[in-house]
């Protein structure tokens, strides 16, 4: 990002130090909610927590075990969220790539119309289709099941648009050359286009995974059996009402946040590349 070239010579050392000091400061601020959540989790069931626990010997590390003890099903919720978010992610990446491929590379009548249809779904808010989706899932008996949690989200207008735009940035000559060499259309998609589109695919995957992981209202609607709840719905049971005691709520939140944090760390490089792709030329 910043180029500490030798051109600046000795001047670069304080400059370097200052930059890092600021970066550390900013990252501490960005991490603050996490530290605060941890601090609240460890201070026991009190309505008068402090910013930083004052007595580190009385910290209640048992709170993490306690949330599992209170709701042993918490691990099942995490599994559910993982299965649902992964399945939706794979589905969205698959459907978006195929649709976008058709829009970007094939020539057929009604192409523009189909693109507008895909984009049009972005204009319809989720709340507007909620009841009809719910009635459908209810009718086919998919409540309290993975199908009910997954199927309504397998295609995404945003995904189609994102992939199409990315495909268009790749040189058309590649496609022509491949076809001349006798490469089939599906093989081109699989062996050439998708590997080249890794940044966009990673962006779409992480975005979809996190979005699905954080869903609240839909999983609440289509599940009644605690077995089938996802984490975001499940952990509301730790939220105290009538008084502000946060320890178990924060502990449970930290536990269910971990998997997404790990995913973000793994996908971060691809994600950043994907987000900035096309932002700079050359």
């Amino acid at each position: 990002m910043i180029n500490f070239s030798t051109r600046r010579g000795w001047k670069s050392i304080p400059y370097f130090g200052l930059t890092y000091a600021m970066l550390i400061g900013v990252s501490l601020i960005l991490m603050f909610p996490l530290f605060f959540a941890l601090s609240l989790a460890l201070q026991g069931p009190t309505a008068a927590p402090t910013l930083i626990p004052t007595n580190f010997e009385t910290l209640d590390w048992g709170v993490f075990g306690a949330v599992f003890q209170q709701q042993p099903i918490l691990s099942r919720w995490i599994v559910n969220s993982f299965v649902v978010a992964s399945a939706v992610t794979v589905g969205v990446v698959l459907t978006s790539s195929l649709f976008a491929y058709a829009l970007a590379y094939l020539n057929f009548p009604g192409q523009a119309f189909l693109l507008f249809v895909a984009l049009g779904t972005l204009m319809v808010p989720f709340e507007a289709t909620l009841i009809s989706n719910y009635l459908f899932i209810s009718e086919v008996g998919w409540k309290d099941s993975y199908q009910g949690l997954i199927v309504p989200f397998l295609a995404s207008g945003f995904g189609v648009f994102l992939m199409r735009q990315y495909f268009l940035t790749l040189p058309k000559e590649l496609y022509d050359a491949a076809l001349v060499d006798g490469c089939g259309r599906l093989r081109y998609l699989w062996s050439i286009l998708l590997p080249l589109s890794r940044p966009a695919l990673a962006t779409l995957a992480v975005y979809t995974f996190l979005g699905t992981w954080n869903q609240f209202y839909w999983p609440l609607l289509v599940t009644n059996d605690p077995e089938w709840r996802t984490t975001q719905v499940g952990i509301t049971i730790f939220s105290n009402f009538e008084y502000a005691v946060f320890n178990t709520q924060m502990a449970a939140t930290l536990i269910v946040m971990l998997p997404t944090l790990i995913l973000l760390l793994l996908g971060q490089r691809q994600l950043v590349r994907g987000l900035t792709a096309g932002a700079l030329k050359g």
Partner: protein, 473 residues
């Protein structure tokens, strides 16, 4: 050029961040050791369903540790008989429970019983899927139970003269005081009724500054909350909306832009301006509670249901805070009482007749004095039937927590009228957001006068109310 802009951005970010640090409530910045052992969380797994029992679905919205008591109560019912089995399903919150019921109306996927907060009364009636509890009581010749209900609680769930739902967990709002601080500055902690002027004076006395002029204890911790504002109308026997708070016919308009409301706004603003109140802003309830329990503010508004948590937290904090309760502010001319919050049990007309009977059996059981007394003692809510007070377990509870008696007396201060019972409307939840915004706009100086803030809030609430009423009629 590029580098300098990056530095500029970083500096701006750092400045933003440092203001964020300063904005951290003071309650969180001062520490204290806690040596009390941490109470363990007791898991309450549901009991197994007996063979051949009729399943009754019960949706509830009370989470956390109080939610554990709900499950424990359901377990007790299931163990008390084997004909019915109540399956308790937690639905995230009261508001989500009612939203889910609304979504289920189209497919008929509804619970047999639901626990809904008082703000949802109109919406539940508007589902047209409710069997009024009073009809069932009359059918079984049990109307004497209604007469035994706590009058304020009964009034809260009675619409057009009919009891629609069975009260389950009831609370009211209190002004919490630090009794030790009151004694220290020569105020009487046993005086229950305080007028605005007396409280302004008390806040001045209770405010303590250190040698550098920094306030180390404020008179009162404030945060914008609609429930207390609604209480003030009931305390002054003033309608919150017309006609008749929506209790005899559908409410047509909110009328809380009145002198009673202005006086309440201006009273709090005066203390904020004088520096005897610390204002925590929207969503600041938790921080205000922490300031109170840590001894950094001598007074604070909260529900009576938080009494035990506050006592336990104050003990853990070890700052010598002695938790006491007094009435919501009452000027000498106030003739009303406070209103009841909490939730009630609604029976729907879904399911088989056997399931409906099971739902009714469970609700009937929940109104038993011994169930109510145990529920009250374990949660901090009122018993909703008066016979519960005759039981030893309740008597002992009241002896241990005399602060609770103040709350009971407060809801019995006046004869029941429509004006001193909570209003009923279909846009209760969003109206509360309008009130909170009005309070915050006025306290932070975004709006110059209380009247202006209130007029705007009433206009917004009425717009939504009209829309709602049009959608159900």
């Amino acid at each position: 050029m590029k580098k300098s802009s990056i530095i500029l951005a970083l500096v701006a970010f750092a400045m933003l961040a440092s203001t964020a640090f300063f904005a951290v409530p003071t309650a969180f910045t001062q520490g204290n050791p806690t040596n009390t052992p941490v109470p363990t969380i007791t898991p309450v797994p549901p009991v197994a369903k007996p063979e051949g029992a009729i399943e009754v679905t019960f949706w509830y919205g009370l989470g956390g540790l109080l939610g554990n008591v709900v499950q424990a109560t359901v377990n007790k019912y299931n163990e008390s008989q084997s004909k019915y089995y109540v399956k308790a399903i937690f639905q995230a919150s009261y508001d989500d429970t009612i939203n889910k019921i609304n979504a289920g109306l189209a497919s008929g996927d509804l619970p047999n019983v639901a626990q809904i907060f008082e703000a949802g009364t109109q919406r539940m009636i508007d589902t047209k899927k409710i069997i009024p509890v009073e009809d069932l009581l009359a059918r079984d010749g049990l109307l004497s139970i209604i007469d035994d209900l706590e009058p304020a609680v009964r009034a809260n769930y009675t619409v057009n003269g009919k009891l629609y739902s069975a009260p389950f967990n009831s609370s009211t709002a209190m002004l919490y005081i630090n009794r030790a601080a009151f004694r220290e500055v020569g105020l009487d902690p046993d005086k229950r009724a305080w007028s605005y002027d007396e409280l302004i004076e008390a806040a001045r006395k209770l405010t303590v500054k250190d040698s550098s002029g920094k306030t180390i204890r404020y008179g009162i911790a404030l945060y914008p909350e609609s429930w207390f504002f609604e209480q003030i109308h009931a305390v002054n026997d003033t309608f919150f909306g017309e006609p008749n708070n929506g209790r005899t016919a559908r409410m047509e308009k909110y009328t809380f832009n009145n002198p009673i409301a202005e006086a309440y706004f201006e009273w709090q603003k005066k203390m904020i301006d004088e520096g005897t109140a610390i204002y925590f802003g929207t969503g600041g309830g938790a921080a205000a509670g922490a300031a109170y329990a840590n001894g950094e503010a001598a007074m604070y508004f909260s529900s009576i249901a938080s009494l035990r948590t506050l006592i336990a937290s104050a003990e853990r904090a070890g700052k010598g805070v002695e938790v006491g309760t007094v009435y919501m502010p009452r000027n000498p001319d106030a003739k009303g009482k406070t209103i009841v919050g909490g939730a009630s049990l609604w029976i729907t007309n879904t399911g088989t007749p056997e399931q409906q009977e099971g739902a009714w059996d469970f609700v009937k059981w929940s109104l038993r004095p011994e169930v109510q007394a145990e529920w009250a003692v374990n949660t901090g809510y009122y018993p909703v039937v008066r016979k519960a007070y005759e039981l030893d377990i309740m008597k002992q509870g009241l002896e241990r927590f005399p602060q609770f008696q103040v709350a009971i007396d407060q809801i019995r201060l006046a004869e029941i009228t429509d004006a001193n019972s909570a209003h009923i409307s279909g846009v209760f939840v969003s109206m509360r957001q309008d009130v909170i915004k009005a309070l915050d706009d006025y306290f932070t100086g975004k709006v110059a006068t209380a009247k202006e803030a209130l007029d705007a809030a009433v206009a917004r609430a009425n717009e939504k109310l009209e829309e709602y009423n049009a959608s159900v009629e």
